[in-house]
Amino acid sequence: MAKFQCLAEAVAENLKDGDSVAFEGFTHLIPHAVAHEVIRQGRKDLTVMRMTPDIIYDQLIGMGCVEKMIFSFAGNPGVGLLRRFRDSLENGWPLQVEIEEHSHAAMANAYEAGAAGLPCAIFRGYRGAELTRVNPNIKFIKCPFTGEELAAVPSLRPDVAVIHAQRANAKGDVFIEGITGVQKEAVLAAKRSIVTVEEIVDDFGGISPNATVLPSWTVTSVVAVPGGAHPSYTQGYYGRDNAAYIEWDKVSSDRDSFTAWMEENVLKQGPEVFETRVAHLKNAG
């Protein structure tokens, strides 16, 4: 059964130094509030994974929390490159991050296989692609019926999955809608999970009989953090803060402005700040 907790407690109890962690979200519902709490608590040596690591991974890397990153597309979506990630990879600042790089199809299949309790995923992929040369976790197997060669990757089974969702009900079941990405798979593939939500309601009311719902007993910790996805968005609540993504390109462009921004906007703040950050975006939800 999911435990209702405050954010500091949820992170302290469930996310340890050295853990492998998926902060998932596909543009939508990215769990910024949890990542900031992880940075405040000074976690180290994390193996982070995500299909589309963006600002929060830039921040986690820049703050020295990350030892290794498993990913398929590391960019500031619609804006450009991730400058803290680049600085780590190109110059080793503040640490040299180890990378394991895949394609989107590989990562999506690997989460799916993790949720399904399998050790690996197979798919038709990577033909003629050079990642096969640099990533030993890409192999090929033969279909036992047709002889076709198919790509295989190990399933992704993080210690902790972190996601943001629209609502939890009083039992701790979690409801997600809109672009759901690989979040359900990440939670089901993980040993533990932290889910922040916009609100906790008595019950979900008239949702679809086939709605995406994570039963309470598949979730470890539920935390209400209104606005917790900012500058990402939560469909039905607030729109994406595109200006913040564009601003990040500048903030992250050098080490000093990055460090100052993190001090001011993350280290000195708490989760309650997120609600105020989305106030002007409510109409766009």
């Binding site: 596909f26 543009t27 939508h28 299909m51 589309t52 990913f71 398929s72 597309f73 590391a74 960019g75 979506p77 619609g78 804006v79 490159l81 991730l82 990630f85 680049r86 990879l89 190109e90 790089e101 394609s103 989107h104 199809a105 999506a108 299949n109 989460y111 799916e112 798919f123 038709r124 992929g125 990577y126 033909r127 003629g128 692609a129 050079e130 990642l131 640099v134 076709e148 060669e149 809109g178 672009i179 759901t180 990405g181 690989v182 359900k184 798979e185 995406t212 968005y233 469909q235 729109g239 994406r240 595109n242 200006a243 993504y245 002007h280 766009a284 939800g285």
Partner: protein, 256 residues
């Protein structure tokens, strides 16, 4: 004739290449503009799919990112990302996929991974994302890229996604049965692979572009088809719809 920019020409040319019954796997940027321009002009029933899971979407403004809420709100339905890559892309349901990148070679292979050595990068790029499987699973691939010596290179630093490989039958030798890059649409010209060698060949120059301009912006010895035509300039309606789309998009992204 109306004035237009090379970017606009590129987008209009890409839009024209799309048919009403196409099912497109759309990327952010030029492909997104081209696909939606096609939808708003000659191909109203075209199916647009973004890798975030949105099926049959009809955004009123262009998304800044592949997973903007606008895509979901205007979609027929939205599926999970594993389903998108399994049932829709790998399932062979996409007729046209769009790709672009930091580096392109004459056979339509693309690099979006790294400039320099993989283990010791000069510039670490975002990586492949969906490209490795888009490149092999879609019926055909349209590449949109602005020509430059930095981008159109003799040899890629890294092969993120397969085009025609080393040319000829190399693509098929990799076990790939889809057609691969069939068009390269740039700010200066339209290119198509030579039927035999599979090397990209200029088939049409955009209005006012010279052969020298092509040669000067390509890091290999550019080839031209026997008959090189002139791309018809954008029509007034095409430009109007495209500019309206960009204006709506700009207003929306700046917070109206």
């Amino acid at each position: 004739m109306t004035n237009f920019t090379p970017s606009e020409m590129m987008t209009v040319a890409a839009a024209r290449a799309l048919k009403n019954d196409d099912v497109c796997f759309v990327g952010i940027g030029a492909p997104s503009a081209a696909c939606n321009l096609a939808r708003l002009t000659h191909a109203p029933d075209i199916t647009l799919i973004y890798e975030s899971g949105t099926l049959g979407t009809a955004p009123n403004v262009l998304p800044l990112s592949i997973g903007d809420g606008e895509l979901c709100k205007t979609a027929l339905t939205t599926v999970s990302v594993p389903e998108m890559f399994r049932y829709w892309l790998q399932g062979g349901r996409i007729t046209v996929g769009f790709l672009g990148g930091a580096q392109l070679d004459r056979f339509g292979n693309i690099n979006t991974t790294v400039v320099g050595d993989y283990d010791n990068p000069k510039v670490r790029l975002p990586g492949g994302g969906g490209a490795p499987e888009i490149a092999i699973s879609c019926g055909e691939i349209f590449i949109t890229m602005k020509q430059s010596l930095r981008g159109f290179v003799e040899k890629l630093d890294f092969v993120t996604s397969l085009g025609h490989g080393k040319g000829g039958n190399d693509r098929a030798a990799h076990g790939v049965t889809t057609r691969g890059p069939t068009r390269l649409i740039t700010d200066l010209a339209m290119w198509e692979p030579d039927p035999v060698t599979k090397e990209f060949t200029v088939t049409s120059l955009h209005p006012g572009v010279t052969r020298d301009q092509i040669r000067e912006t390509v890091g290999w010895k550019a080839k031209f088809a026997e008959d090189v035509g002139e791309t018809p300039a954008p029509e007034a309606l095409e430009l109007e719809v495209l500019r309206d789309l960009h204006a709506r998009t700009k207003a929306a992204h700046e917070g109206k």
